[in-house]
């Protein structure tokens, strides 16, 4: 049974990816200016590995720094929001509004404000990372076992003690779930922010390639960014397994 399950888990996606591949190649053969042959994309990486590595490095660095800021401030705010109802009611509408705003549209303004350096890209990545973690952290930090909380309260445990010994560990599963969404958003945000204001990074690579109709390069950069996101999610999942062992 388990054997069959494992097999399925590998075969099923392969079949779908296979079908997608055939569809892709058909388009690449018949509508040349839409998709390049898949082999060309792979060849791209072989041709200029350092080029892709460099640009990935820039994007990834912005994404990770942005994630650190966005996720950090989201968790911090969530903590404060759990303790101060006022803050909760104050922040949520603003966070909601931020979440429904197309950040890409604001990225030019950020470049104007912060110049041609990593800052605007990091800000976009942070903003993108912020919301999913805020919501998850809030849920996680609020959803503590009521009876365990009673045990702490009956011992007159301080707020800090309740936080460190109950709230924080209880919220870890939610925090990791949020982090997975958040790091993907940060990566996508980082790529999209590079559509303007820089000539480095996967986003800039995509734009340049689009301008010059270099489809292989464009798709190579798109896939590279998608795969990197998956790897990042994988790393967070691994960290989760290491941390949450109960």
């Amino acid at each position: 049974m388990i054997r069959r399950e494992t097999l399925l888990r590998v075969v099923a996606p392969l079949l779908v990816f296979g079908a997608l591949y055939l569809g892709w190649e058909w388009v690449a053969q018949n509508l040349k200016s839409i998709l390049p042959p898949f082999a060309n994309i792979i060849a791209e990486f072989g041709k200029r590995p350092l080029f892709y590595l460099d640009n990935l490095g820039v994007t990834l660095a912005n994404a990770l720094v942005g994630f650190a800021f966005g996720a950090g401030s989201a968790v911090l705010l969530a903590v404060l929001m759990v303790y101060f109802g006022f803050l909760r009611m104050a922040i949520i509408p603003v966070a909601l509004l931020l979440n429904v705003t197309p950040v890409v549209a604001i990225s030019p303004a950020l470049i104007v404000a912060f110049g041609f350096n990593a800052v605007p890209h990091i800000i976009v990545a942070s903003v993108a990372a912020f919301f999913p973690l805020l919501i998850n952290a809030m849920t996680g930090l609020s959803a503590i076992d009521r009876e365990a909380h009673d045990v702490f309260r009956a011992l007159s445990a301080s707020r800090t003690e309740v936080f460190l010994r109950l709230r924080l560990p209880s919220s870890l599963p939610h925090l990791f779930a949020g982090a997975k969404l958040s790091i993907t958003s940060a990566m996508v945000g980082s790529v999209v922010s590079e559509f303007m204001g820089t000539s480095k990074g996967l986003g800039a690579t995509i734009v340049l390639a689009t301008n010059f109709l270099n489809l292989s390069q464009m798709w190579a950069a798109i896939f590279l960014s998608a795969l990197t996101s998956l790897v990042l999610v994988g790393i967070v999942t691994l960290a989760e397994r290491l941390v949450i062992r109960w």
């Binding site: 076992d145 009876e147 365990a148 009673d150 045990v151 702490f152 309260r153 009956a154 011992l155 007159s156 445990a157 301080s158 003690e161 010994r165 109950l166 560990p169 949450i244 062992r245 109960w246």
Partner: protein, 275 residues
């Protein structure tokens, strides 16, 4: 009903005096407790017994300082519930074990030492608490082999025993237990009941215990407080004068069975009077 269990109410006693509690529920008001008066001497095993909603949990939470009373006063060996909680003088054993899943059983039962250190620095004279050796308690409750296990690796009954161990390790003079066995099946429940009886008879802390089960109440208690709901009142306090130490054998004795029947019929009588 005004029920007083002792003429004097010295420092060494628990005195519940005219305690009432109402909850606001939207526009509604729920009278959970009305004019409760009770006094217990130190070292008594008291059981609050009554149907669902009669305010057992509410009364217990007031004693633990988890809930404010609307009227009345409570003295726990001379301290208010808040003071007692601040000095870690009350051990709370909740309905579910409420162990922390990320800690080993041993760390879980040491919880009282990890938090509220200020209480540990109180002048020795003020301290009413004598923390117990965790390993001894684990052994007494049959958990010695599971000291380093995680809660998820234990059965429900073992988890519940760990929660009781956590209470004992705290060493507080007053232990409050809210239906600690209600999630367990009958046989496990019987076994753990006898364990509790055994350990308690060795150290004789003051215990206020809540249950729905008449045999459980009679087996464990010195006094059974029979309550009635809507609003929650003390209907009668029944003295359980069965000899101690008690053992499984007592379950078969006529005196025990009579006492159970008496408690049940008092409960039913309070319930019917109320309907």
């Amino acid at each position: 009903m005004n029920t007083s269990l002792g003429a004097a109410a010295p420092t060494g006693a628990i005195v519940i005096d005219q305690v009432s509690k109402t909850f606001d529920r939207g526009d509604d008001v729920v009278r959970a407790l009305v004019d409760v008066n009770l006094t217990f001497q130190e070292g008594t095993f008291v059981t609050l017994f009554g149907p669902s909603g009669c305010g057992k949990t509410t009364l217990l939470r007031i004693l633990a300082g988890l809930e404010e009373m609307t009227a009345g006063t409570v003295s726990l060996f001379g301290e208010t519930p808040a003071q007692a909680a601040r000095a870690k003088n009350v051990a709370w054993v909740p309905q579910s074990a409420a162990l922390l899943p990320w800690l080993s059983i041993r760390s879980n039962i040491l919880l009282s030492q990890f938090v509220n250190r200020a209480a540990d620095r109180m002048p020795a004279g003020d301290r009413k608490r004598i923390p117990e050796d965790p390993d001894k308690v684990l052994a007494e409750l049959g958990l010695a082999d599971f000291a380093h296990a995680r809660p998820a690796q234990l059965s429900g009954g073992m988890r519940q025993r760990a929660a009781i161990a956590r209470g004992f390790v705290q060493g507080a003079p007053l232990m409050l237990m809210d239906e600690p066995f209600s999630a367990l099946d009958e046989l496990t429940r019987e076994a753990i009941r006898l364990r509790l009886l055994d350990v308690w008879e060795k150290n004789r802390k003051t215990v206020v215990f809540v249950t729905h089960s008449a045999p459980e109440a009679v087996l464990l208690s010195d006094k059974v407080v029979v309550m009635t709901p809507r609003p929650g009142r003390v209907h009668r306090v029944v003295d359980i004068d069965l000899p101690r130490p008690r053992s499984r054998a007592i379950l078969e004795s006529a005196a025990f069975i009579d006492k159970v029947r008496e408690v049940q019929s008092i409960l039913r009588e309070g319930w019917e009077a109320d309907e």
